[in-house]
Symmetry: T
Subunit: 147 residues, 12 copies
């Protein structure tokens, strides 16, 4: 796998660690990204990490990943529950996309229990904290490793 | 009609022709736009074609069209089903706006069968492939031609 | 295209022009049909125009069109929102069917915003006044013209 | 009032008196119509009574009433709960239309508690047995009598 | 019929004639009651007319009517759509109760299209203006007249 | 059992065998009717087979069956999901009515999974192909045979 | 426990025993109250029994109970299903409130199967006839007895 | 057909004949099974009949039928309306499964009108009493007989 | 503005300050009213403050305000979510009515997130504690001050 | 009453006292059963107490109770909200069944506020802790005691 | 209070005064902002006013306000009804946020009556025209003033 | 971590690999379990693997795990969507439980998109094939490893 994995964080995830740590934990996004990169490096893989509060930027990034990435780890933040445009961008990708949520969205407010994105993804990892990003990465590497 | 028609494509329509051709056909957006321009030119009209994955950019464009365009052909992409802000931008326009969808959204997943935009438009053309853009253009020209 | 296009008007469309002109315009159905015929003639095509207030008659006509028409332009009137039987008749047709509504049904009462027919049609043109019939005709001719 | 009142009975009302008398009473439709006619005659008015099991026939009759009747008493039978086409025919009439139900539809199965017709009528009389027709007639005569 | 008919008006009906005459007409409640009384007197009957903005008072009145009235004409006003307690008071009555609405509630806001009371009444008269009270009275007298 | 069994086919069933054979099989309606008749004849019974695309005609036929048939086998086609008038006609019959569907409607689109007719029938046979008609016939004969 | 238990009966419960005995039994409210009082007296407790058809009076009583009663047994009658104001009055009480229904509301009409009050009470006893009041009393005494 | 047909009865069907005969008839399950067996024997076929109140046992039986039965007649009892696990077991079977209900579930309480099982079965027979089992058997034999 | 402003508090607001202070604050209703009066006095205005647990009393007060008040500040308490009668009384008023809630009802239980009253008011102030009353007063004075 | 009362505890009630004591209290199931037995013994009655996590076992027990028990106290645990099969087993019993819940299910998560069982029971006691079992027992003894 | 108040206007509010003045008034956004600033200045406070049609920009601004503003006045425009991402940005702020709407959204189309934002705000002011911004400002200053 | 991890497979998962491999893959359950065990062994951990088609057995196992396991990996099969009893068993466990689905349930039929179990679990892994079990195991080991 020569192309990197795209790790894409949606709205408000740049606040990680600085706010509501009881829900999202105490790590900052920078720390999370560094941990993901090191985890990838240990397995000879690379990741590109980006965050944006703009739906359009996230769609642009996803579209670009078609040619530049081997897979995508996507935490759509609050757009999870509302964005058909983001879903369409995922559906248009031939490379595997895994949706990750740090908290267990199915145990929160009713409006957070439905994802508009999941149906277009390969799979979902949810509620396992920031460790979920590493598991998603492991799965993408597993998909491309010889079996 | 001295002002041009604005043709505005929403999220993921820049992928036209390169992905999911069984749904959206094999023409690229560039080709579609060129066909629209030629169709307009044959009738002595001009079109301005734009695409964006950003809801905000689409709203900015729609607002600007109030003074610079004679009518709008809008394919809102995935925002069709979710964006009240886009609907409000349409509703604020005095010039006619026609919503166009390449595929028949009423024959697809349930969440695609409701448009938040249609109620604020003059009308809708849907499911007629990229030919729908030309028909929408014909209607806008028909509206301003002497009868 | 040697077979004619069937133009089929559903319940209450025979009242066109004589009632509620603020919604449906001032043209009578006879005038509308004449305009469609002339528009077809200019392109070397023929149309057969029929109206009925009877769901069964409309279904009979649609079934007959399988062998006698090259395409159908269908305005189902109030049956749009209720008739599965009409939808089934459309679905059984191999020739293209385009649903046309004179007014923008998505901008009217809630019960008019859902069509039971659209999902079985090739496409929908809605809200463009009686001009919508001509655009539907143009599309059917476009489908059969050499490209 | 020189034009007659149209009394229009929908599907299955021809069975009146012969079936389910515990719901609809023991009078036949013929007897009901005769009583209505005599009631009208006593007040110097005329009524035309018709029954059909065909939605299309009922719509045809309603349309014809625009020019030939002074008002309409409509019992839509089972079409009450489903027919938008019938509603549209009522809405297109300038003369007053009163919806009558022999039984109290609001005290029956849930699907009978919603009428698609009522919103387009002048008013509704329901649950008062066949006497409801006479009251509806009295109201139509009241509307046209000098006050 | 020696006992009088109870005519019971619910919340805000005391405002009749003084407000929103485009919906409820220009007659005051006092005039309406007088017309009902005269209409009853002409047929040798008596009516007792009351109005209250208090659900509890209306229930008290309905309960008292069990022994003192021959029938009830009830316009529950805004309680129509919400009061199970009022419905229960109606259901407990052995004498006939007719629900009357001056305006056509089925043609108004969605929350006005459902009556919690109708299912417990003998029947409903709705949308026929204040004339509806007279028709309801006629029906109650019809019920007790020898046939 | 001297009276025949009425076999009544609803809208679009006249298309059997000629369209969508992957859903409805390759037999024509004529063949189906012939098979039913032969099956009946072998058991000394008679059947009358009719098809109509008109709801009103179906209701007329059902009403007539009250006096002329020993039982009814009804495939309401697309009216299954919408027609209260047809349901009322079934409910008014004292003879047994069995609803038959060739395909398994509970395995198709959501709007086909609810029948407005079933609740008024004796029973339902669904998804067993055209063999379902024969089973329905067997049941009607079983009902009238001495046990 | 020196303060009495408040027994509060809502709308129409004053009709107990005189109407619909097949649902509510043949005891009058007076008899029910006497039985409750005797049952309390046998255990050295006192009860105050009140009934009102007025939501406001019931709320006033509940508020007063905060200082004057040791617990409340509340049968809200038809207000059970509709009154948020009554619920709020219950929620504001620190003393225990038990909701009692004579009939099994979960086995009746759909609109009776939801109580707006239960969520603010300590518990519910339902369907056990007027014996339910005695059980509720036993529970309130149980709560305050030394264990 | 050398393998037997599995007849599988779900929860509470062991009570057949002893309780609620007005709904389910007076035959005991033992009698029903004997009738099925004799009916099969007359056609040279065998049946295995089982009943269980345990969802898990029913699933175990269905799974075992994959190798040991030629088809299944399944009456899921109360699990009809709730069990996705049972549906999955049906869906995993390659042999035909027919759902049978003795009573007409579509004419009973609303929660009984939806089957979670039907969509995974070949077809449904419902409301024809215990005769429905025999018809289901006839259909399974019909499927495997030379045509 | 010579007429006073009516400040009308609904059910349970008389408990302010004494119960559930974590939601409603520690001020008593008397203190709140005094603060409103002083705030009004400072601007040369007068207020009339009333509270009732009785829907009917609140409606009576609102009706009387038509002639005696310059505007209304209404906190409907638990009636907010249920009372159409109160809404109708507001709708009948020509003077401006502002709905005030001390707590943020949109952040509480689902049944508190819908107000039946808001649609008939000029506007809503919600969640700003008892300071909301003063802001509502400021707005009413702003409306009548010369600009 | 010579037959014992069956006390039947559903899934997870064997965990009583050892987990989530803030919801279910600190008593173990063994202690609860012992208290019930002693309470019965003091009144000369016997109880049989059983718990199972298996729906099928609970149904088997209920069926057996028809001949062996004088009444049933049923806490269906999590099956309360989902099991139609259990409801059917209750409905088939001629002896009285009382549903008991230790916690107030109407004050918990939305999916716990609806019981599929209650409609088939004689009554419900809910939210009164384990004391509810004793009250249910008292009611069953009350039913069979001479009055 | 040394930090300014952030006033944040969402999509299409830049059109204020130039379009649909019957809903939103005749003031331009520039005038509104100037009035707010002057109102703040009179009380010794500062405001920062921004408008954007981009959800992402609004979120960026809200995040930045955590360190740079003393409170926020937010009119989310059409995003009110759809944006969970914006809600999350509000929820992450420790400073008070007040939602303001110029028109009464509860009196408009059904889809405008639900705000996804309100539940995360301190409170809401709605329907009081542009004066609502000043009242929101007064409340924020009130919160920080010594009491 | 000395206690093993419990891997619990629900209904129909014993069919893995033998049926519907296009959804669930070609591995048998035995192979899956072996792979999990080897994966655990490589990290010095143990797993106990069980499968049952019986809800009750699964609950029994989960309860036993409280004392005997360090964590649970649960694939509830078809019970995912229906079983509150299973959810309660999960909620009663203090050790972490991870829900695993082989297929992406959010991309399948609507009734599979809601899990009744997820809200009581620590997290969910879904759609990653049988590799999801290994990732769940990695997470449980991660939770107990020193950090």
């Amino acid at each position: 796998m020569n192309k990197p994995i795209l790790v894409l964080h949606g709205p408000n995830l740049n606040l990680l660690g600085t706010r509501e740590p009881e829900i999202y934990g105490a790590e900052t996004l920078e720390q999370v990204n560094r941990t993901i990169m090191e985890h990838a490096a240990r397995q000879g893989a690379r990741v590109d990490c980006h965050q944006s509060n703009h739906e359009g930027v996230l769609i642009d990034r996803l579209q670009a990943a078609a040619d530049t990435a081997a897979g995508v780890i996507l935490n759509p933040g609050g757009l999870t529950h509302t964005s058909v445009a983001l879903r369409d961008a995922v559906a248009a990708l031939a490379i595997p996309v895994i949706e990750v949520h740090i908290s267990n969205i199915y145990a929160r407010e009713p409006f957070r229990r439905r994802s508009r994105i999941s149906g277009a993804c390969r799979g979902v990892i949810c509620g396992l904290g920031t460790h979920g990003y590493l598991l998603a990465l492991d799965h993408l590497l597993h998909l491309t490793s010889p079996r």
